[in-house]
């Protein structure tokens, strides 16, 4: 049974070769995946054009169901984006070096899921062409957006988060892009030359790089927490029973980390299988990710139960009725499925045999994310179905146009991700080398002493200033 996170005898040239191989000319299966994603996006584009021409009513939206799965999916994608920040920023700061082979694609996932999420508030607007009105541009008429509205906070939070996470992804990739530059020909060489920004791998560059990377990591963590708190404010700041719940911000953040971690497991298995990254994305690392996911799942489950308890003991009759309606009302099958996927399924992660079995983990991670999508739907829709005013109670099922756009968003995300894995290294070469280096010298104190010349460099995981430069960088 494999117990080591990574094989410490792996040659550095081998690491470069393995990762660069994954970016080489794609096989047939890749093009089929791209075609499938394009077809999904085409579905969404057709639906959106239709909706744009005819009006928002085509998706079956009605009074009082003004919001539906567009907003639920928006929250879902924002949630997915939290995994990258967790893996790369939080685990970076706490020196958990097992993150190193898998954080790159998680960061890419952050950026791409934000790019997907950002589309939904735009798609759901009645007058899309005026969407820039929520931005505080200087207008001759002296009109500003309404700063009291959570939707304006959303616009700020998401654009800030998207910019920062894209920057973080890019900065972390610079040393790797230099390796790519040195090994590429043609258009790739031109692209990597521009993107690697003259990286030579000298001491000054590494020192500045470490500083800015740490700085960005510290900047991103509070940002990630605030972004999903603000998204939860869309609901928590309203007066509606079932939305107006104080515990929503931590609940949403926990849910975000949860679905993000589950998505990391899914993509981990896919990448490991198709790119044969068995040496880097090892079973012990998957196990650690699963344990982390399990811990977050338990936090989320606790907060879910807390939400029920606080509504129940709060004795607000309307909120109580709205809650009971979720348990026994028309949406209850989905609600129970959500509870099953979100609370029961993660226990599979606690069993070692299942954790080490890839097909099981693949299915479980998809189930977890299904549960998290249902959770968002079960927040948005049943509340609108049962509100303060009984005359306006109504059950509505989303129409084909809405489903098509939600379906297409997965294709859009997949497309971005597929392009990413072929253009950029989806495993961080320099950090894997670092990890191998530290693991190798953990058992060789004489060598460690030789390289860690200064006392401040003693901690493992810290920057080893005397470290030999990775080949090609």
């Amino acid at each position: 049974m494999q117990t080591k996170d990574i094989n410490e005898n792996i040659a550095w040239a081998q690491i470069n070769a393995d990762v660069l191989r994954s970016m080489e000319s794609p096989r047939m299966g890749y093009w089929i995946a791209v075609a499938a994603c394009l077809a999904m996006v085409a579905c969404a584009v057709v639906a959106e054009i239709y909706q744009y021409q005819i009006g928002m009513g085509v998706g079956n939206l009605n009074w009082p169901h003004m919001w539906d799965i567009y907003i639920a999916t928006f929250v879902f994608w924002i949630g997915m984006s939290h995994s990258g920040t967790l893996l790369s920023a939080i685990l970076h700061i706490i020196h958990a070096d097992w993150r190193k082979p898998i954080y790159r694609f998680a960061e890419a996932m952050t950026t791409f899921s934000l790019m997907t999420a950002g589309l939904f508030p735009i798609i759901h607007l009645g007058r899309v062409w005026n969407m820039y009105w929520v931005l505080p541009y200087v207008s001759d008429r002296g009109i500003w957006p309404n700063y009291r509205s959570p939707l304006v906070w959303d616009a700020f939070a998401i654009t800030t988060y998207l910019t920062s996470s894209a920057l973080f992804l890019f900065i972390g990739m610079i040393p790797d892009l230099a390796i790519c530059r040195d090994n590429a020909r043609g258009w790739r060489q031109k692209l990597y030359t521009v993107l690697s920004m003259g990286w030579q791998g000298d001491d000054r560059q590494w020192r500045n790089f470490r500083k800015i990377y740490l700085l960005m990591a510290c900047f991103l963590i509070p940002l990630a927490v605030s972004v999903h708190s603000i998204v939860s404010a869309d609901f928590a700041m309203s007066i509606m029973p079932g939305w107006h719940i104080t515990s929503f911000p931590p609940y949403f953040v926990a849910g975000a980390l949860y679905s993000g971690c589950a998505a990391i497991i899914t993509l981990f298995i896919i990448l490991r299988y198709f790119f044969r990254f068995d040496e880097y994305m090892t079973i012990p690392i998957l196990e650690k990710t699963c344990k982390l996911t399990f811990a977050i799942a338990m936090v989320w489950s606790y907060l879910t139960l807390i939400e029920f308890a606080s509504v129940w003991y709060g004795h607000d009759l309307v909120a109580k009725e709205s809650l009971m309606e979720r348990f026994v009302g028309p949406y209850s099958p989905f609600f129970w499925l959500m509870l099953f996927c979100g609370i029961i399924c993660p226990f599979a992660l606690a069993i070692e045999k299942m954790r080490r079995h890839l097909p099981t983990m693949f299915v479980v991670s998809l189930l977890l994310n299904l549960g998290m999508w249902l959770e968002r739907w079960m927040i948005v829709t049943p509340t609108l179905a049962t509100s303060h005013y009984p005359f306006a109670w109504d059950v509505m099922w989303p129409g084909m146009v809405q489903w098509a756009i939600v379906f297409g968003s997965f294709g859009w995300f997949g497309l971005l991700f597929l392009i990413f894995v072929k253009v950029f290294p989806s495993v961080s070469m320099y950090e894997v080398k670092e990890m191998v280096f530290h693991r190798r010298h953990a058992h060789r104190p004489d060598l460690a002493a030789k390289f860690h010349r200064r006392s401040s460099d003693q901690q493992p995981g810290d920057t080893a200033s005397g470290q030999p430069r990775p080949e090609g960088a």
């Binding site: 928002m56 939206l61 309404n146 005013y389």
Partner: protein
């Protein structure tokens, strides 16, 4: 937009046109609806459709919940399955509740609009600026009464085919798809009344501005007027019922008084008072 203008007058543009601090209301338009007088004839709703260019969406869309009735007359039957056990009322038919925008003074729809398309006017009205609305529909989600209606489709061609478009009210616009709309207390009539009064050099008197529903009601169940005018009909009715604006819970000397406001406990401070139906015992 001229950048020069903006830069030169930056201190004005920085905050927008809205001035902070306390304002005195010029008017406070309120309503009193006597449910005992209401026969459920729907004339008010029809008048509203005619006055405010409301789109007729057709039976199918109405059933789907995509109707545009700013003033809806809700029917309640004293049904046994929902706890009503009085056979007499069941046989006597339903009770009716005309619901239009409550023009809450602490309106929940106003703070959530991202572009400030809905705001409170110095007349005490909850105004909706159609041109500014981008259709995020947050206001409707946050209205506890669900009194805001969204243009899910473009209706102007289907709803008023030639020559019906000739009967549209020229005093206000026809809304296109993607815009939220709701009862305005016939703001066009209020503007006309204020303009006329100013031209004649006098204050607006009670009865100068009257909404289409109040004008049409055959039993005069709906009374509309200015709360700040202590002599107006409507403020006398409010005073008689001992219902006051700005209170979450009314203190009444006589519990028999019928006046109440809907969902008062939410502290939305609605401007419409209903008088409870009197039921024979």
């Amino acid at each position: 937009m001229s950048l020069k203008n903006v830069l030169e007058n930056w201190s004005d543009y920085r905050k927008g046109h809205e001035q902070g601090g306390h304002h005195d209301y010029e008017h406070m338009w309120v309503m009193a609806v006597d449910l005992d007088k209401c026969t459920g004839c729907n004339a008010c709703s029809v008048a509203c459709y005619a006055e405010n260019n409301l789109a007729v969406v057709g039976k199918e869309r109405m059933m789907k919940g995509q109707g545009m009735h700013w003033l809806r007359v809700e029917r309640y039957w004293d049904e046994p399955q929902i706890g009503g056990d009085d056979g007499q009322f069941q046989s006597a038919g339903g009770s009716f509740l005309p619901m239009m925008c409550q023009h809450c003074n602490a309106a929940t729809c106003e703070p959530v609009c991202p572009v400030a398309a809905t705001y409170h006017t110095p007349d005490g009205l909850n105004a909706q600026v159609y041109n500014r609305c981008i259709g995020s529909r947050y206001c409707s989600n946050n209205c506890p009464y669900r009194l805001r209606y969204f243009n899910f489709f473009s209706y102007y061609e289907e709803s008023w085919p030639e020559p019906l478009n000739q009967q549209l009210n020229p005093d206000l616009s026809v809304r296109d798809k993607g815009v939220m709309e709701k009862c305005t207390f016939c703001v066009q009539r209020i503007r006309t009344a204020k303009d006329t009064a100013r031209r004649e050099g006098r204050a607006v008197q009670d009865g100068d501005a009257v909404t289409a529903c109040a004008q049409t009601c055959p039993t005069q169940a709906i009374v509309f007027g200015d709360m700040l005018d202590k002599e107006s009909r409507v403020s006398k009715i409010w005073a008689k019922q001992q219902v006051e604006l700005g209170k979450t819970k009314q203190v009444k000397a006589n519990p028999e008084l019928r006046g109440y406001r809907i969902l008062e406990g939410l502290n939305t401070d609605p401007c419409i008072m209903y008088l409870d139906r009197v039921r024979e015992v």
